[in-house]
Symmetry: C2
Subunit: 131 residues, 2 copies
DNA sequence: CGGAATCCCCCACGATACTG
DNA sequence: CAGTATCGTGGGGGATTCCG
């Protein structure tokens, strides 16, 4: 994805700061746009959390998706995974500083959504009503 | 999606502001998480833009996806569609005030991505290298 | 407890037409 | 010019089973 927008900046005409911003936004949006990443990130921001705790607190998630999403977040450096070699095994996940900063950066978006939630709902009703 | 997190707030225990924020974030992220929405929104933020102009400036997009994404953005009240009943037809799209505010709200995310891009790349290399 | 492996489904998206 | 219609595909995600 984003082949066009990114490739264009190679050595072509003026790098166009606008296009660059688009790529940057898509980068971060794609990173958290999965169905579960944001919820997991939030739980892990509260403090160290175990696999099974996440399975319970992130309601609706399957073991498979929990594992996959945790791996991706860990890979991006947003979660730190700690294994305690006890028996039974104990694994804890915690948000990194980067992830906490990300969560703060999202507050602007939350503000926007709250300010315009009603307007969006009205726009949809209007659009769906008249076509 | 988000069945769990939203449904839980019906009349259950304390509404948990954290979970509510998760839903709000996912709301807005999902709204712009398509492959083309952000790029289209940017072009339409510069000023009124025609269908064919978008087809050229948003590189790689197909007519079909352009139409679908435009419809969704219009439905959410992020784009305004103006039809000039001339021949040949002329249709212009422009970002609404809401959309412009959204773009400003995204700047925090851009800042985050720029600050941590290198750290993320390193985290990935490290993760992929060692497994 | 904390996963990995397998199977299946759905839908966002791409390609390729046709049209007022 | 600005769309619609139709068909096909890939991968994100669900359900289930097995494992150290």
């Amino acid at each position: 994805m984003s082949q066009g927008n990114i490739a264009v900046t190679d050595q072509a005409e003026t790098p166009d700061p606008g296009k660059l911003a688009v790529c940057t936004v898509m980068e971060v949006v794609n990173r958290i746009s999965g169905k579960w990443a944001i919820g997991i990130l939030l739980e892990a921001t509260r403090g160290p959390v175990r696999f099974t705790e996440l399975e319970r607190s992130v309601s609706g998630i399957s073991r498979r998706m929990l594992t996959l999403t945790l791996r991706n977040l860990e890979r991006d450096g947003l979660l730190e995974r700690t294994v305690y070699p006890t028996v039974p095994p104990r694994v804890e996940y915690e948000a990194t500083g980067m992830a906490r900063e990300l969560y703060e950066s999202l507050s602007a978006l939350v503000g926007w959504a709250e300010r315009h939630r009603e307007a969006i709902a009205l726009a949809r009703d209007s659009y769906d009503g008249r076509g």
